[in-house]
């Protein structure tokens, strides 16, 4: 570790992994409820489990991004963090606020939670992914601003690199577009229109800047390739991302009451969205092939390469699969969407966080890389989780195709529930694959505790 203050990243990474475990457990509960409908009812109804599953995902990814920023920015800026104390205080505030929110979801009915937390002052709850109570949303803004202040001040007083700049742009964008979560008009079409300004412009916009910066940082470290080359690639990738992704928002404006020209704008631009992900894959492999050093952390390199490939498959290929308006007319809101969501989030944002954690954690623990034994176990977890998510995606895609066929294309369409009964085999296979994913995750955590000979101190 080059700067003492980078150590504040450690609790962020640990919290991220802890919440990740919670996310997967609730995912398994939901998966079982798909086939055993009354499982855990009425203790944990499906909607509660889903809220916990998706909110934990968002929160742990944010923990990962913040931890990554605290690790990267001092090293990039060649100076200590502006205020490590502020960073630690924000860690505890965010963790406690997040935990209380999840407890709130589980302990009281959602309508009661809304009443208790001031939803009547400003109605923002009850919209997908933005279910958090008003006070949690305000808390997120406060933590984000304190975090951004801390990071920005560090960059301002130190060396200014392109990686820092892109990371900052992504993180500031994240905070700015979250503000649309406070806008919830009665007009449902306007509500949905601007809801996407948070949701789409996060995951298919500014988050990709964060992803690119994190990947570029790790690739510089593990390959030793010249910074000029890597940062040039980074700019090219994020140019492609935003040029396609901003107007690509239009692929959500096909069927929600918005003007029909979006079917053209959305289809054409979002059809190009796989290109930046393809570039990212080529980038990662190219840099590793042109490496100038043999970094002892093989596991981190594997995660970095995996991020490129899986983000391209999940976000790129599976996104393209249903993004053209004439196709989306049939697939909109089916298991096809769920299939895409799972592989895209895993491939892009889960994997880039695990890449960063894999690279940084050994250094934070005082060594350049973990022992061979530990790395071998980590690589097993890589393959188990990655192959599981591929199969989860394939099973959900199969379920989705059948669902579209039986419920939407057929001359004699079946009802929603009748269709669900017919495709339950695929839900069972998805659930068992989910169990394998959990095993992979347990091995991943176990790899942190495997001893053996450390690689030279960092």
């Amino acid at each position: 570790m080059q700067y003492k203050s980078q150590a504040v990243a450690t609790p962020y990474f640990i919290a991220a992994i802890g919440l990740f475990v919670g996310q997967i457990i609730f995912g398994l509960i939901m998966g079982l409820q798909y086939v055993i409908g009354d499982f855990l009812f009425p203790m944990i109804p499906f909607n509660v489990a889903r809220m916990v599953h998706t909110n934990l995902l968002i929160v742990w990814l944010l923990f990962g991004f913040m931890g990554a920023a605290y690790y990267m920015i001092p090293e990039e800026s060649e100076t200590e963090l502006f205020s490590p104390k502020l960073a630690l205080a924000m860690f505890w505030i965010f963790l406690v606020a997040g935990a209380l929110t999840i407890v709130g979801y589980l302990a009281v009915p959602y309508a009661t939670l809304a009443e208790l937390t001031g939803n009547d002052l400003l109605e923002t709850m009850g919209r997908e992914f933005l279910e958090q109570p008003l006070i949690t949303k305000v808390g997120i803004v406060i933590v984000a601003l304190a975090f951004l202040f801390n990071i920005s001040m560090t960059v301002l007083k130190g060396r200014k690199t392109s990686i820092s700049l892109v990371m900052l742009l992504g993180l500031w964008g994240l905070a700015v577009f979250f503000l649309f979560s406070f806008y919830n008009p009665t007009n449902l079409v306007l509500d949905k229109f601007f809801w996407w300004w948070t949701v789409h412009l996060w995951v298919e916009g500014v988050w990709e800047l964060i992803l690119g910066a994190m990947l570029a940082f790790v690739l510089i470290k593990v390959t030793g390739v010249d910074r000029e080359v890597i940062e040039k690639w980074l700019y090219v990738i994020i140019t492609l991302t935003l040029v396609t992704g901003i107007i690509g928002t239009g692929h959500h404006y096909f069927w929600i009451g918005t003007p029909e020209y979006w079917q053209w704008w959305g289809s054409v631009f979002s059809a190009l969205e796989p290109i930046p992900f393809f570039a990212m894959t080529v980038f990662a492999f190219n840099m590793v092939n042109r490496r100038r050093r043999e970094h002892p952390n093989k596991a981190a390199t594997l995660w970095a390469l995996g991020t490129g490939v899986m983000a391209f498959l999940g976000a790129g290929v599976w996104g393209f699969l249903h993004t053209l308006a004439p196709v989306n007319y049939y697939t909109h809101g089916t298991q096809i969407t769920a299939a895409h969501g799972h592989m895209a989030f895993y491939g892009a944002y889960v994997m880039v966080n695990l890449t960063m954690i894999s690279y940084a954690m050994p250094i934070l623990r005082g060594r350049a890389a973990n022992s061979n034994k530990s790395q071998v176990l980590e690589m097993w977890s890589f393959w188990l989780m990655t192959i599981s998510i591929v199969f989860i995606t394939l099973f959900l895609t199969a379920a989705g195709i059948l669902q579209v066929w039986l419920q939407r294309v057929s001359e004699t369409p079946l009802s929603f529930m009748a269709t669900q009964d017919k495709i339950s085999l695929f839900y069972w296979m998805r659930e068992w694959t989910g169990v394998v994913f959990l095993i992979g995750l347990i091995l991943y955590i176990a790899s942190f505790f495997v001893k053996g000979e450390d690689k030279a101190a960092a």
Binding site: R127, E131, N187, L188, F193, K232, V243, I247, T337
Partner: protein, 141 residues
């Protein structure tokens, strides 16, 4: 990439491209919001609809159902449930939950008043009259 293409060129293209396409997106969004009154059924946004939307949100209906295709995929699409089932059926259905049928997916009992049920139905009726470019493909949603 060859040496002729420098990092600062890449950075300039990034800023130029991003600003251009973001402005284009703003222009399209501005045009959309100007066109919406013709499509979004705002003439029928009554106080009952507003109350119904609040019921919809504070019971986290989107956690199981889709509405105009967005939400969770655990339970049926409700953007067109009004023409599919009618108001009386919707009210009776909500009142009758959970079914308690073993192994079947269960919907919670929300203990809504008659007024709240009427408001929710008003919201679902308003939603079904939004011009969605003929989506979903058929009445089953």
């Amino acid at each position: 990439m060859s040496g002729a293409f420098t990092k600062s060129m890449a950075r300039n293209i990034f800023f130029g491209g991003t600003v251009f396409f973001f402005l284009l997106f703003l222009a399209l969004s501005f045009d959309s919001t100007a066109t919406l009154p013709k499509r979004d059924n705002r003439a029928n946004l009554t106080p009952a609809v507003a109350n119904g939307k609040k019921i919809w949100e504070t019971r986290n209906c989107i956690g199981c159902h889709t509405l105009l295709g967005e939400g969770a995929y655990f339970a049926p699409e409700l953007g067109n449930v009004y023409p599919r089932r009618g108001g009386d059926f919707i009210k009776a259905w909500i009142k009758g939950q959970p079914s308690g049928a073993p192994g079947r997916r269960q919907m919670p009992q929300f203990n809504l008043t008659e007024q709240q049920l009427d408001d929710l139905v008003a919201f679902l009726k308003y939603t079904s009259e939004i011009n969605t470019a003929n989506w979903p493909p058929n009445i089953e949603g």
